[in-house]
């Protein structure tokens, strides 16, 4: 690799050619503030907060886009630089609604942190505040364009990472707004509610739809029996909200905290992840042996399901009919569970904690009411759970370690790895292989489907069925590439796993945010850290295969009878339908 030498604030640094001044400064341990920049995602030099002085270059230059050259001399801490940065932030603040006290991002806002860091004490400019309507059109995401600072991180993530393109920069000058086309609400365009935009927004302009009050109300209602499930990926990130390093698993403290919120029974979505494997694994074998539609595609990611409905309806028959673990749990929580425990199903309030904003949408889908009730009554994101724990005044880190309740709190490592890209595939392969061959797997790890590469492939010999070809994609932009390849006949698979979010659920739109500066300063990708934690946990578990979960066996014996049986069919399976991408296309017919 060709290296370049430069001097920053008198310090000599050597970095690979093609690096930016910001990256070089990072390497030298010199901190340059940033706002619009987001590592690997947004590099457009829009905000000019990161300006520096470069000898022989005219004026100040944004370090996040400026490439290093041999012998370059950079100064990051001159009066002119400091003054210019301040002016830029003051300009942003001049028309910003100063609602920090009641804003969901207060103390966690990149703009607020920047104002503090740059020592802004007054705002010398006065601008007119914009007055755009809030977008509360959908069950998952709320947009408040008045707080938007036009950094365009959301546009970049939605377009380039997700390949959806629901958001864009519209109009110009003072009227500029980041929004869907025609300033329509998200519900009228092709948004899939994945929440990736929410994760990258530096301010309070994008957030999940708040369902915390609903949960508090249910807890306070003596008539209600509140059950709660926690998704696999939540435990791998919740600790970050309490200052723990990225990649800390906090399962047992999380259970203790939830119990102290006043929840009656705490169960694990990992349990129904195991159940999903039983149903979906059998569905796969059925399709394989009886000439069913292949490749089978996973359907546990509601953002992906919506994307498929809107963008690739030709693949709808490939989707597994097995519901997601959240919805399987929801259906059982109001049928199997109350019957088994002698509770009135109508009194059950079922909450799930998810790393995901699209789960809020999924729970409200008309297909998800097979228990005779709304199967899941509220979905909290990981961030919302953290907020409730804080509101309750619990000192998370000093809580004791506690276990899930029985029976739906028993799970395996296979259920746990559902939270990571490749995990559903790996869990399915563990079960399918053993069920079909009758042999015990020597090595449970299918490493080919692990890791952050966009599209992963593997072939597995499953005698007597033959060679099974699988593929895994995470992030809808990668999914799109994979689907196009399949469509063009360039690749053939038997089984395909798709998760809407980069990294899978661990990178979901409801997970703790990792800010721009944090992403810059981390040596590893934060998604790798979370994934590693999940795999380590799986390794340490006694049970690591879904079909060995004793509670699942009991569930079939007592209630469901057999995978793909009549009860399963009714409660645990569903179908999806094509949807128009844009409302306007639905309204006008030839």
């Amino acid at each position: 690799m060709e290296m370049v030498n430069l001097t920053i604030d008198g310090q000599e640094v050597q970095v690979p050619k093609g690096s930016t001044v910001l990256e070089a400064a990072q390497k030298a341990g010199i901190d340059i503030p940033t706002l619009c920049h987001l590592k690997d995602i947004n590099k457009i030099g829009a905000c000019r907060v990161c300006v520096v002085e470069i000898e022989k270059a005219r004026g100040l230059q944004p370090s996040c886009t400026y490439p290093v050259t041999e012998g370059m001399v950079v100064r990051t801490n001159t009066a002119m630089v400091r003054e210019s940065r301040k002016a830029v932030v003051e300009l942003i603040l001049s028309n910003h609604p100063m609602e920090c006290l009641t804003c969901s991002r207060s103390t966690d806002c990149e703009l607020q942190a920047l104002a503090k860091k740059l020592g802004i004490k007054e705002i010398r400019f006065q601008g007119e505040n914009s007055n755009f309507p809030m977008d509360t059109s959908n069950p998952a995401i709320v947009r408040d364009p008045n707080k938007c600072i036009l950094c365009r991180r959301c546009v970049a993530v939605c377009n380039e990472v997700q390949g959806v393109g629901a958001l864009g920069l519209n109009e110009r000058g003072f009227n500029s707004i980041v929004a869907p086309a025609f300033q329509h609400p998200l519900s009228e365009v092709n948004c899939v509610y994945c929440g990736q935009c929410v994760n990258v927004c530096p301010v309070g302009a994008l957030k999940e739809k708040d369902e915390m009050q609903k949960v508090w109300d249910a807890i306070n209602d003596p008539e209600k029996h509140v059950v709660l499930q926690t998704a696999p990926a939540v435990r791998a990130a919740l600790g970050e909200e309490f200052g723990l390093p990225i990649g800390t698993i906090v399962t047992k403290k999380m259970v203790a905290a939830i119990r102290r919120l006043g929840i009656d029974k705490i169960f694990d979505t990992d349990f129904t992840a195991d159940l999903t494997i039983m149903e979906e694994g059998n569905e796969f074998l059925d399709r394989l042996q009886n000439g069913g539609k292949l490749p089978l595609m996973t359907s546990c990611s509601p953002g992906w399901v919506k994307y498929c409905e809107q963008h690739y309806p030709e693949f709808l028959d490939n989707l597994s009919t097995a519901k997601s673990p959240q919805q399987m749990f929801g259906a059982l929580a109001k049928t199997y569970y109350p019957e088994k425990c002698g509770i009135d199903a109508a009194k059950i309030f079922s909450v799930s904690v998810m790393p995901c904003t699209a789960k809020k949408y999924e729970r409200q889908r008309p297909e998800m009411m097979d228990s005779g009730f709304v199967d899941v009554d509220a979905v909290l994101t990981t961030r919302e759970l953290a907020a409730m724990i804080k509101e309750a005044g619990l000192d998370f880190n000093s809580l004791p370690e506690e276990d899930y309740d029985l029976p739906m709190g028993i799970s395996t490592g296979a259920g746990l790895i559902f939270g990571v890209t490749g995990g559903v595939m790996e869990a399915a392969l563990r079960t399918v292989y053993e069920v079909v061959t009758g042999k015990t797997l020597e090595k449970l790890e299918f490493v080919e489907v692990r890791g952050l590469e966009g599209i992963k492939e593997a072939t597995v010999d499953v005698p007597p069925v033959g060679t099974v070809k699988v593929a895994v994609a995470h992030g809808l932009g990668n999914a799109k590439k994979l689907l196009e390849r399949i469509k063009a006949g360039e690749a053939e698979y038997h089984f395909v796993e798709i998760m809407a979010c980069p990294g899978g659920c661990i990178g979901g739109g409801g997970q703790p945010r990792v800010t721009g500066p944090e992403r810059m300063s981390l040596e590893d990708n934060y998604l790798d850290l979370r994934a590693q934690a999940v795999y380590n946990e799986d390794k340490s578990m006694k049970m690591r295969k879904s079909h060995e979960n004793p509670a699942i066996k009991t569930l079939y014996e007592e209630y469901l009878v057999k995978p793909l049986g009549e009860k399963s069919h009714h409660l645990l399976h569903t179908h999806y339908q094509a949807k128009p991408k844009y409302q306007v296309l639905a309204e006008k017919e030839c």
Binding site: N159, A166, N170, R172, A181, K581, L585, K588, C590
Partner: protein
């Protein structure tokens, strides 16, 4: 995607056919969004939402990208523009000499507000800043034709003049 426009039978070319033709023409060319939109607008007159959505689908890009371009350039319009665009000067000189009342009279006679277009697609009414013809105040322009020293009573005459012109052209 199937055609979603409401191409009337008997029309020379439906909206979708126009878009198909224009997009196909630029197929595979980098940066063809602006020329495509421009040609489609010339053929259809304006770029309403369904047209933009169809262009987006046809070009394989998100609607947000098309709308971002359309809303950025003043060249593009999402509202229909009448055959005759009446721009009334509301600059100081004209205003003092009563152009505000002239505008109101046009609104009354045409049954539309500023920025709107008559149902028959003939007239669009606009207010504009000083046209630099203050000597003729109050003044207005219809497409490229200047009309000056206006009186309220000129309003119906002007309207009738262009209606007649349009009828003549049609026959």
């Amino acid at each position: 995607m199937s055609c979603q426009c409401q191409g009337k039978t008997g029309e020379k070319e439906s909206k979708c056919e126009i878009i198909d033709r224009v997009v196909d023409k630029y197929q595979g060319q980098e940066g063809s969004m602006i020329p495509v939109l421009h040609e489609v607008q010339q053929a259809i007159g304006y770029l309403p939402e369904d047209v933009q959505a169809y262009v987006a689908e046809k070009m394989g890009v998100p609607l947000s990208e098309v709308y971002g371009v359309v809303s950025f350039y003043a060249l593009f319009t999402t509202e229909p523009i009448g055959k005759y665009k009446i721009s009334i000067c509301l600059g100081t000189a004209c205003y003092v000499k009563g152009s505000g009342r002239i505008l109101e009279e046009f609104e009354k006679k045409l049954g539309i507000k500023v920025g709107e277009t008559t149902e028959d697609g003939l007239f669009t009414l606009e207010a504009c800043r000083c046209l630099g013809a203050c000597g003729l105040a109050p003044v207005l322009v219809v497409n490229e034709n200047v009309h000056g020293r206006l009186k309220i009573t000129d309003v119906p005459e002007i309207i009738e003049k262009y209606r007649a012109m349009s009828r003549e052209e049609a026959s």
